[in-house]
Structure formats: C-alpha cells, structure tokens
C-alpha cells in the first residue's frame, strides 16, 4: 500500500518535473518576499510557563514603578564641589526632558520643616494606630508630662541652634513620631539617597541621581532605541565633565536583540560554511548541493507560512531554524544515498524509515502543544511545518534533481558485519559505565531558572548596573506582597487587615500604606477617638501640667499654649489615598499602582525565610495576593519547568515509542531503538549538570528534540541490522548525525546564553545518541539475538 502511494506520487512528480520546479521557484520567491514583512520580537515571555503566579510576578515587575523608568547616576570626572554636581544635574534635568522622556526628577522641593509641621498637624490624628493612642493616653500622666518637658530642656543643653519653635510645638512627640514613620517609609525606597539641597545625592555627595520617566515600553525595541539615542545624545555634550551609569530595562531589550541578531548571523555563516565543506569533501558531487539547499528552502517556506497566523516571530525561533536545517538535511541525505546506490524499489524501502524518522521528530513537537508555554507551541508549529516541507522535498523533489542514471540498476546488498563477542561485551560494559557516571552527575542537575539566565545583555550593561548598585542600591531587596483588585476602598481595608496580621506575627521590615494611612472607616474611628480624648477637662489638666513643669525649667508661661490650641484643629481627608496629605503624597507611588482598572497595593517585608513562610500562608488565604521576589520567581519557575518537563516528556516518549513500534513491529527491536534515547538523555543531563546551566525552559526544548533525533538513529540502525540495507544506512546515519551536530554546534559560537545552552544540549545529546546507535545497538542486538 505504502509503496503504491509513494511510487504513484514519485512517478507523477517525474512526469510533471517542469511544473514541479516552476511551482517551487515561485514558492521560494513568495517566501523570500514575505521575510521583508516579518515582525520579530526578542521578548522571552513566550518561553516562560504560563503558570499564573510566575506571569503575575513578572508582569508586576515589568509594570512596577521602576520598570518603565530610567535611572541615571552622574559623578564629576574631576574633583569638584557638590554645587557643581547639582548644577549639572539641573542642566541635564532640563535637557533630557524632551522627546521620548516625559519627566525627569532629580530631587524634591526644599523642605521647610516648620511649615511642614503646621501642614501635617491637622491630618495626624486620623492616622494614629491603637498603639499610638495607648501611648498618647499614657503620656497625659503628670509625671510623664514632666519628663517630656525635661527632655525639651535637655535638648537645649546640646550645642547649636535651639529650633525652639519645633520643640515647643510638639512636647508629647505626636507629630515628630509621624515624621519618624515617614522617615521609615522613605528608607524603604529602592535607592539609598540623601536629600541635599533638594537633590538626590549619594551618601558621600559625590554622585547625583536622576529618574527619567518614559512611555517607551521596555519590550518595544524601536521605542527603546529612540529613548537611548536621545539620552546618549544629551549626555555626549557632558562626557568630558561627568561619568554616568544608566540603568533601565530598555538597554537590556536592545542588547538582547543585538546579541540574538548577531548570533543568528554568525551561526548561519558557520553552519553554511561547515555544510559547504562537508558536501564539497564528502559528496564531491555538485548535484549534492540540492541536499544542502532544499532544507533551507523548507525553512524559508515554513517561516513564511507561520507568519500568516503569527503576528510576530521570536528571534529564538529564527535561531532554532538553523538547528531545524541540520535536522531536515538528514532526510535529504538518506534519499541522496538511496538514489545513488539503490533501485527504485529500494528507494521506496528507504522512504519508510525516513518518514518514520520525520514522524518521531514531529511527534516530539506535537507533545509541545500540550505545554502551557506559548513559545513552545510557536516553535512546535514552525518545526512541524518545516519538517513536513523538508520531508516532501526530500522524498519527491530531490530525486528529480539528482543523477539517477544508476537508479534502475540492481545493487547487491552488502554483507552483514558481525561483532566479535568480546568486543560486544566491552562496548556494552563501557556503555553501562557511562550511563552510571552520567546518572551520578545528574544528581547535581538544577531545575528551573534565574530569569537572568534568559538575558543575553552585554557585559558592559551588567557592569554599569553593578557600579550603579554599589552607589545607590539598598543592601538587600525586600519581599514584595502585592494585593490587587478592582475596588480600591475594599483593597485598602483588606490591606489593613493583612498589615495588622503581619504586625501581630512580628514580620520583620513590615511596611505598607496602612502603616501611616488607614482605611477611611478606620480614619473616621480614629478622629472620633481623638475628639473624645480631648475633652476640656483633659486639655486643662495637660495645660496645667505643662505650666507646672515649665516653671521648674524656667520656661516662660504660655510656651505651650499654641500646642494646646492646635489639638482641636483636625482634618478628615475624603480621599481614599493620601494624595492631599503633605509628605505622604510623595510616597504613594511606592505603595500603590494602577493599570487597566486594576489597583495594586504593595506591602514590603525583609527578605527572610520566616517572612517567606508568613507570606505564603497569607497567599493561600487571599486569592488576590501574590508574592514577588527573585527567589520566589525562581522557585515557582523551577516548579513550573519541572511540571512542563514531566508533561512533555510523557507525551514525547509515548509518541516516539508508538511510532517506532509501528515501524519495527517488534518489542525487542523497539527497545533496541530506544537505547540511543536513553544514552542521549543521560549524557545531556550530565553535561548540563557539569556546565551549571541545568534544566531550563529552553534546554527542555532542545532535550526533547534530541529524543526525536536519537530514536531516528536507533530506528535506522535497527532497521539496518534486521534488513538488507547495510552500507547505505550506516553512512547516511553518520552523515546525518554530523550535519545535525554542525547545525547545533554552530550555536556553541553564540553569545546569547539561551542560544548557547540549546547548542550544548543538542550537540551532547546528538553525539551520545549517534555513538550509542552505531556502537551499542549492534552489540546489544548481537548479544540478545545469540540468546
């Protein structure tokens, strides 16, 4: 049946050879033309499992305060004064604030403490916590009042100005306490800045910080380029005066794109060159160029076809195209040798394992459709289409291009090569040892990812960021708990509850808006409590106590009258967020964000194991709460990748075994065909463990492709062992392994860590699979058949 169909198609292709070539020509033209309209993107998002927590965390980091911003640190090249540094900071602020930059902040307005005191006082009562009220009530005791007044007196014993207006405006420390709370919130900022002359300066006053806002998304490479070009043009005018460090996601975007583009160019050239040498010295037949060109033609057509239903293609997919070319050449190689060495009937026989080989590889990619990683699905579609086209071209077009003058001649099957028993035992023994050592090494294999391993930015960018962090970054980054929802009022109430819960459990480094800005209900309650506390009787007693104490320290009568009068002045803010509250309105951005009608409130905690446990418990009880921390992302990603591996491996293996069995129709032969698969898996695992790369969302893809290839070698060798096809298969298997290694090996020259890891996985797996196929499978076949 198969022969009938195959021969019928071949005969028709031969009959309409001219039409076939013309159609192919136009298809190639169309494919090349479509490349000019192809949109490419270098976002790694598609390679991350779409598990909600990881995606939420990464999206949060992307949308977070600093994600769309640019941090610029400047310092004077030559020894200079602080005022010179501030002057340049102000000049740059004006010049940078144009084009793609929408705002530049290099400090905050000069703070007049006295005025601020007056502005804040009416708001403070509504912000007091239960604890604050308890302390306040205790401080109304006459002895405590005397102590407070004595403290003021002692303050006057210190050297320097008295600043008496502030001292006497707040004898009980009510409003000063609020200042300290704000101070604590400010200390939670990502950067350790000092406000000097209203400007952001480093602790040693030798560096100034500017924060630039932009609407350029960090995933938009065109907009990122425009942004950085603008900034660099402005900074160029001051390059002789200042050193700069720039930190932004945009530079990573551009650097990654640059790395991937340069890698794609480089590996294409390396691969093309290697293929050319191979074919020039091995085939020594000009028509063999067709073997080499057809797979690349298939890739081009696959890209063009994919662009019909995918709006933009990942650069990674393009990188994989070189690998696919190396794989697809296998089919053409087998057919080439078949055409040269066999007759028409035997060509049909070669077609069977070639088709099975293609099906097993495609079967691995079909498994990718069960994954939650969007990038896998994109890759699967592209790969299946390119493999199908390659197969069709190899089976039906390649024979038309080759010299088939010997085609109808009979060929004598080569004599079977028999293994000597001791060599077979040795081979199997060595193989067993290799598997055991690999198994041991795999014990150190890491699973999952640091997101940064996907980032192929240039060394200079990482160095610049390290230099920036040295000056500005807080020693440790906090854990971030994000509460999100559509209703801001209920979100604030929920945050208040969470805050109190965490406070009760003594969570370290706890900071949230609730710390200083309770929900409206709580604020109304606080104000009622405040008003209820300050009865005329209480005020009179306090006034009397203050007067008594003042006399003891020779203060004039009435120094605290203004304070007493101020107790009655209160303001209840109607706003959900403290946007009208002096000072606190500057901090809102740190604790609140909004995007697409979704509000987010942020709670900060010290990044400790205990806090992580507390946070995870809270997340279980609150659906709209999630944790953002590098460690948590890595852990979740690791778990997600592990889940993906299990899912994909299960399906891939099932397909491979099924298809192999369908062809070989024998359990023993099927098991033998799986030997290269086992070997490849073990060796890849050992190599990834030794290299430190580990199993990532990317190396999983490469590993599964290797399974599809390794089983091909197994199938061909088993086929060879049990059929009359001898010389043709071994040479073809060897050559197809070499071409795959060339295609994958080219990636070892890649600078981008993702491309490199793909190359390493493929090369180690393919070599291991191939060697075990031609050395171990025949030995095992012989040993098991003897029995």
């Amino acid at each position: 049946m198969f022969s009938k169909i195959y021969n019928s198609i071949s005969d028709n292709c031969l009959k309409y050879k001219k039409n076939v070539f013309v159609s192919l020509f136009f298809l190639i033209i169309a494919a090349v033309t479509s490349l000019f309209f192809l949109r490419l993107d270098n976002s790694m998002d598609a390679m991350i499992p779409a598990k909600s927590d990881v995606v939420k965390s990464i999206n949060f980091l992307r949308e977070a305060d600093m994600a769309g911003k640019v941090a610029l640190s400047i310092s004077l090249k030559e020894e200079g004064s602080r005022s010179e540094l501030i002057k340049i900071s102000d000049i740059l602020k004006k010049k940078l604030n144009s084009g793609p930059v929408t705002e530049v902040v290099n400090g905050i307005d000069d703070i007049n403490l006295d005025q601020m005191f007056e502005d804040i006082k009416p708001f403070v009562p509504q912000t007091l916590s239960d604890e604050d009220f308890v302390v306040l009530e205790k401080s109304l005791d006459s002895e405590v009042v005397e102590q407070k007044v004595k403290t003021i007196y002692k303050r006057l014993l210190m050297p320097g100005p008295s600043q008496s207006s502030m001292l006497f405006a707040d004898p009980l420390g009510l409003y000063t306490n609020y200042f300290f709370k704000i101070q604590t919130l400010i200390a939670s900022f990502a950067y350790k800045v000092e406000i000097v002359d209203g400007h952001f300066l480093s602790a040693d006053n030798k560096n100034a910080l500017l924060i630039l806002s932009t609407e350029a998304a960090i995933t938009d490479s065109m907009a990122s380029k425009e942004l950085l070009t603008h900034i660099e043009a402005v900074l160029a005018d001051y390059s002789s005066q200042i050193d700069t460090q720039l930190v932004c996601g945009h530079s990573h975007t551009i650097s990654n794109e640059k790395a991937i583009k340069s890698d794609v160019k480089r590996i294409s050239i390396v691969a093309l060159l290697a293929f050319f040498i191979l074919f020039a010295f091995v085939f020594k037949d000009p028509k063999a160029v067709a073997v080499f060109i057809l797979p690349f033609t298939a890739i081009l057509m696959a890209i063009a076809l994919n662009s019909l239903w995918i709006s933009s293609m990942s650069y990674l997919i393009i990188g994989f195209a070189v690998v696919m070319a190396g794989i697809s050449i296998d089919y053409a190689i087998h057919i080439y040798y078949a055409v040269q060495k066999t007759n028409k009937e035997q060509l049909c026989e070669v077609a069977k394992p070639v088709i099975v080989g293609a099906l097993t590889t495609m079967g691995v990619f079909i498994a990718f459709f069960f994954s939650s990683v969007q990038g896998y699905k994109q890759l699967a579609l592209f790969s299946i289409v390119s493999l199908l086209i390659s197969l069709v071209l190899a089976l039906f077009v390649l024979p038309l291009l080759l010299d088939n003058s010997k085609f109808d001649k009979d060929s004598k099957p080569a004599a079977e090569v028999k293994c000597l028993p001791k060599f077979c035992s040795l081979k199997i023994g060595l193989w067993g040892g290799l598997i055991y050592v690999a198994w041991l090494l795999m014990g150190t294999l890491s699973i999952g990812s640091d997101i940064r391993s996907f980032d192929g930015s240039e060394k200079e960018i990482w160095q610049s960021e390290a230099a920036f962090d040295q000056i500005w970054a807080q020693k440790t980054q906090p854990l971030i708990l994000v509460l999100q929802g559509k209703n801001l009022s209920s979100l604030i109430e929920q945050e208040e509850v969470l805050y109190k819960d965490l406070e009760k459990q003594k969570a370290e480094g706890l900071l949230a808006l609730s710390y200083l800005w309770p929900s409206k209900d709580s604020r109304i309650k606080n104000l009622k409590r405040w008003n209820a506390l300050w009865t005329a009787q209480v005020k009179n007693k306090l006034s009397q106590d203050l007067k008594t104490s003042s006399k003891k320290f020779a203060f004039k009568n009435g120094v605290f009258d203004e304070f007493i009068a101020g107790l009655a002045k209160t303001n209840l803010s109607d706003n959900i967020l403290p946007t009208d509250m002096p000072l606190l309105n500057l901090l809102v951005e740190r604790f609140y964000s909004q995007k697409d009608m979704i509000h987010r409130l942020i709670i900060y905690l010290d990044d400790t194991q205990e806090n992580l446990i507390l946070a995870r418990k809270l997340i279980l009880d609150n659906d709209n709460l999630f944790l953002v921390s590098r460690e948590e992302i890595a852990r979740t990603l690791s778990a997600s990748v592990f889940d993906e591996i299990l899912k994909l491996a299960k399906w891939a293996l099932a397909f491979i075994v099924f298809i192999a069995f369908v062809l070989l129709r024998n359990i023993r032969k099927t098991i033998l065909a799986m030997v290269p698969v086992l070997t490849a898996v073990m060796v890849m695992g050992a190599v990834l463990a030794l290299s430190g790369i580990g199993i990532t969302a990317i190396t999983v893809v490469a590993a599964l492709i290797v399974l599809g290839l390794a089983v091909d070698y197994g199938i061909f060798v088993v086929y060879h062992e049990f059929s009359v096809l001898s010389v043709v298969s071994n040479k073809a298997v060897t050559l197809s392994a070499i071409t795959t290694v060339i295609g994958a090996g080219a990636l070892l020259w890649a600078k981008h860590p993702v491309m490199y890891s793909i190359g390493l996985t493929l090369v180690s797996g393919v070599i291991a699979g191939y060697l075990s196929a031609i050395i171990v499978v025949p030995a095992l076949s012989y040993m098991t058949s003897k029995k």
Partner: protein
C-alpha cells in the same frame, strides 16, 4: 559762561561717580578674593590641629526664657569625626559623636542612649552642622553659605545660609571668631530666624594634646 561752568561741574560729578563705582567694584572683587584667601588660611591652620580640649560657656538668649540660659562644660575633639560634649551646669549631660553614631547620657535618667543620626534628620541637621564648625572645613561651606569677613579683631566670619540651604529655615546667620593664631575658634554666635541667639565661647583651649580616655566616656 554759567552754562559752561554747570556742564564742567556735571562732568566732574559724573567722573567722581564713575571712579567711585569702579572703586566699589574693585573693592568687592578684592573683598571676594580676601574672603577666599582668609578661608584658605584658616582651613590650612585649623587642619594642623588634630585634637582639641576646651572648656566652654554656651549662653542661650531665647524668647521662652525670662533670663539667659547658661551652660558650662568642656569639649573634646579628635579629627576626623569624633566629638564629645560634656555639660556640668545646669545639669550633667554628655553627648559623644563618632561618625554618624551618637550616644548620650544625663544625670537625671543615668542611662546611656545610642542612636544613629541618619535615623533622625532633624537632629542630624542641627548637631551635624555644629560639628562642621568645630572641625573647620569652611571652604566646603561656600556651597551653602554666603561668607563675609567682618571688620575688627579678632578675625570674625559671618555665614549667612544661601536660599538652597535648608538651614535658612531656622538660621539667620552665624558669626565665627578665631584665635589670633587661627588654629581654632574662640566663639560661635548663632542668630536664629525667631530672634533667639546662642553664644558659644571656648575658654583655655588646648590643641594637639593626647586626649584622655575619660573624654569619650559617658556617665559617672
């Protein structure tokens, strides 16, 4: 004839005015050059001083008091960054600064309190300022203050906070008087915006001596 006399007189007045203007401008630039030179000289002389031990009297003229508040004590200074302030009267009180860390004690509580000035910006602004005056790095202060040399002896500089200086919110100006050898300060007078005044006078200062360990101790 009268007209000619008048125009001659006018020319004379104009000439005198021009000369006066030129002299003033020259005077200003000379004064500016002088202040810079004076600061350099003071800083150079004070930089030779590495330790100071001195008695002091601090008088506070404040609207909250009917009378002047007088504080007696002694200081110890060891460059860079170490400063001790010990008050004997009216209340025993001690304060030791070492970098940004501060410890204080008083006879009333008899307890030593420690904290970082970085966590208290209000305190840091006031006390941190004073340390700058005591350590003598005045050239750096040109970024924050307008500095004028006052006439008369001893040499006295007047520091007025510039608009960008947060101290302007509570300080009108500061006058600093120096010893004849300009190796240390004699007196600091702080005039505050609310008309309060603080006078700090150093008595019998000893320079470059080995400071005893007790200088840095707090409490009894």
């Amino acid at each position: 004839m009268a007209q000619r006399k008048l125009s001659k007189r006018c020319r004379g007045v104009a000439c005198n005015a021009l000369v006066l203007a030129v002299v003033c401008m020259l005077g200003l630039s000379v004064a500016h050059a002088d202040t810079s030179e004076v600061l350099k000289k003071i800083e150079s002389n004070m930089s030779q001083t590495t330790t100071v031990a001195s008695a002091f009297v601090q008088k506070k003229y404040m609207s909250i008091f009917d009378n002047v508040m007088e504080i007696n004590g002694h200081i110890a200074l060891e460059k860079p960054g170490r400063f001790a302030w010990h008050v004997q009267k009216p209340l025993r009180f001690s304060m030791v600064l070492d970098g940004h860390k501060m410890k204080s004690w008083d006879e009333d509580t008899n307890k030593v309190q420690s904290f970082s000035m970085n966590s208290n910006p209000i305190f840091k602004a006031a006390v941190g300022q004073m340390r700058q005056w005591f350590e003598g790095e005045y050239q750096k202060l040109t970024d924050e203050y307008d500095i004028v040399v006052l006439d008369g002896l001893p040499l006295t500089l007047k520091f007025s906070p510039l608009p960008s200086n947060p101290a302007k919110n509570y300080i009108k100006n500061i006058e600093v008087s120096f010893r004849d050898d300009m190796r240390y300060i004699n007196k600091i007078v702080i005039f505050e915006n609310n008309n309060d005044k603080t006078e700090l006078e150093f008595l019998a200062s000893k320079l470059d001596i080995d400071l005893p360990l007790e200088s840095w101790e707090l409490g009894d």
